[in-house]
Subunit: 112 residues, 2 copies
Amino acid sequence: MYSKDLIKGTLQPIIIQLLHEKERMYGYEITREVKQRTAGKLEITEGALYPALHKLEADGILKTEKELHGNRIRKYYSFTSSGEKQGQTLLIEFRDFLDSMRLILNSKSNLV
Amino acid sequence: MYSKDLIKGTLQPIIIQLLHEKERMYGYEITREVKQRTAGKLEITEGALYPALHKLEADGILKTEKELHGNRIRKYYSFTSSGEKQGQTLLIEFRDFLDSMRLILNSKSNLV
DNA sequence: GAATATACATAAGTATCTTAGGTATAACGA
DNA sequence: TCGTTATACCTAAGATACTTATGTATATTC
């Protein structure tokens, strides 16, 4: 697991990214998918995820529908029609931000 | 400028990276360098930078020496001998973290 | 039948940031 | 010469995204 502070601010774009790929997902599924993609290096804690999902719903970006699987409830999240566009914008910004980080780490500048 | 929340957690590794390249820098110089490297997309606020530098010093990773330039004081930061190693470790972790972000954004997973 | 996995949730505390303010010198343009 | 911008440091209040801990409940596995 990475140091806790690195992760701040990345959770929302991660959620948005996954939902852009899969249309609808439930919370626990998101934690599993992230863990799998990063070979266990990044584990989203539920104490962070659920409040984040609730906020995205409260902001009108995601909507939910509950479904019974076996005897357990799953709460599926998907984009609202307006949220779709907002999510795309946020993802573009996030990718651009990561590019900037790479620039900082790699630029052979006039330093030294 | 990027959304505020994206930036959280990245300031410390940025400082460490720059000091690995240049040996010693002062606060204001760091803000200029970051702005230049990112074409103005990332501007470190002084309210964030100075407390971060103070913390790195308090943690024994950086040390300082004040210098008079013209009539203005510059406070130069550089690694302590033990801080050098810690900084390297932190940078490796940060790069790895960015790689994980890329994995999440790019993996053609079994989703959909 | 105990431990682990699945699946949701909240709440207190921590840490990093933003925003806003403060001090002071240097340089530049109107 | 006077106001603005740049340089250069600093702190404090408030916002907020996280961690850690806890709770509830069902399903599966050993």
